[in-house]
């Protein structure tokens, strides 16, 4: 986590991958226990990963990591339950078995559609995310291509990710 905060992308990626396995197990057991279908577990995993990423500045370096991660996961779960109350009960039970039988976690698709979420961003933020996060251009390359200053690109990426995080959790009504 600390290396990730300091900008080490490989460490950040390894951390998020490991956490995603923990989060998947956490959300599946929680959703099963409440009696809802765990089909949405992968959505919750991804919403939580985005939240962990966009709000990683709220992690206090002197504190243990686990309570921070689970406080965010729990908040996302409670928020999800509040939003999906009622509609969650409509899912047929056969679908649940299909999801449970699915063993390989890397092949599970969530209902989150990045292209759809991106379409709601402002043009500036969409372009910045496309260049920096999807195409993997460096900040200076993205700045040159979009005609923005480097700090403007960084701000746009930052704001764009926060907006994506918001869209991802708002889409369930």
């Amino acid at each position: 986590m600390l290396a990730g905060l300091d900008g080490d992308a490989a460490a950040h990626k390894a951390l998020l991958t490991r956490l995603s396995a923990h989060l998947r197990a956490y959300f599946k057991t929680r959703l099963e226990r409440i009696g809802t279908v765990p089909a949405d577990a992968e959505d919750l995993v991804q919403e939580t990963l985005i939240a962990l990423h966009t709000r990683r500045h709220t992690y206090d370096r002197s504190q243990p990591l686990t309570p921070w991660v689970y406080a965010i996961a729990r908040y996302r779960l409670v928020d999800y339950l509040r939003r999906s109350r009622g509609s969650a009960m409509d899912v047929p039970i056969e679908e649940a078995e299909k999801v449970l039988a699915d063993e390989d976690p890397s092949s599970i698709e969530s209902s989150l559609d990045l292209a759809q979420l991106m379409a709601r961003l402002s043009p500036k933020a969409r372009q910045a995310i496309q260049f920096v996060k999807l195409d993997g251009l460096s900040i200076s390359e993205a700045a040159a291509r979009s005609g923005m200053s480097q700090s403007a690109v960084k701000v746009s990426v930052h704001r764009g990710l926060r907006a994506l995080s918001r869209f991802a959790t708002e889409r369930r009504r």
Binding site: G4, L5, D6, G7, D8, A9, A10, H12, K13, L16, T17, S20, E42, V45, Q46, L49, I50, A51, H53, R55, R56, H57, T58, Y59, D60, R61, Q63, P67, W68, V69, Y70, A71, I72, R74, Y75, D79, P105, S106, S107, I108, E109, S110, L112, D113, L114, V132, K133, L134, G136, L137, S138, I139, K154, V157, H158, L161, S165, R166, T169
Partner: protein, 213 residues
């Protein structure tokens, strides 16, 4: 979307995170809120005739200490509640202690004075002004604190909202005390402490709506 793809997107061109970002945001919000509340004061009462600070009574210092103490303890509690999973509520004890101290002092003052004078002491001059102005001056600080907290990740929205309301109310009271000292300690306990608590309750009600993320 597959989770692995999402992780790739998030980790591409990873930005560094500076330490202390959250605390700085809260501090900036406090400064903006205080400045805005002060502008409200100037707009309502005009520029004071005497130079500010010319009149330094004990009661004014006490009012400043009480309200600014609440702001400081509340701000520290706010930074904590914007961090998920953060243990420790030490500042909460300090807030309770400040309120206890002021109410005990108020009771002592009342006990030591003749009951016939109680009405004059407690109602004092301008109690209605306190009741109106403190919440009014608290609006701008509350808005700026909500802006700051939305940049954090509060997980208990009622508690965070209540704390934000308390800090905003205390800041509003501090600005008001700058204009008009309370007449006595019991007056301060009722007409400063009361509106601050009202602000806190309003904050607790608004918190879950304004602070969701």
């Amino acid at each position: 979307m597959k989770t692995d793809e999402l992780i790739d997107v998030l980790a591409t061109n990873l930005e560094r995170v500076k330490g202390g970002e959250l605390r700085n945001t809260v501090m900036i919000a406090l400064a903006i809120g205080a400045a805005a509340a002060f502008c409200f004061l100037l707009a309502m009462f005009g520029v004071p005739a005497a130079a500010p600070g010319a009149e330094f009574s004990l009661i004014k210092i006490l009012a400043m200490a009480f309200t600014l103490g609440l702001v400081a303890a509340g701000a520290s509690l706010l930074t904590r509640s914007a961090r998920p999973g953060e243990p420790g509520r030490k500042p909460l004890g300090l807030i309770v202690l400040l309120f206890l101290a002021i109410f005990v002092a108020a009771l002592l003052t009342l006990v030591l004075t003749h009951p016939a004078d109680w009405g004059a002491i407690v109602l004092g001059p301008q109690w209605a002004a306190c009741l109106v102005c403190i919440p009014l001056f608290a609006v701008a600080p509350f808005a700026s604190l909500v802006w700051a907290l939305r940049r954090g990740a509060p997980t208990n929205l009622v508690r965070t909202g209540a704390t934000a309301g308390l800090v905003a109310g205390a800041l509003g009271a501090a600005v008001f005390a700058f204009h008009q000292s309370p007449g006595s300690i019991p007056f301060m306990a009722f007409w400063y402490g009361g509106p601050i608590l009202v602000c806190s309750v309003v904050g607790a009600i608004l918190g879950p709506r304004l602070l969701r993320w």
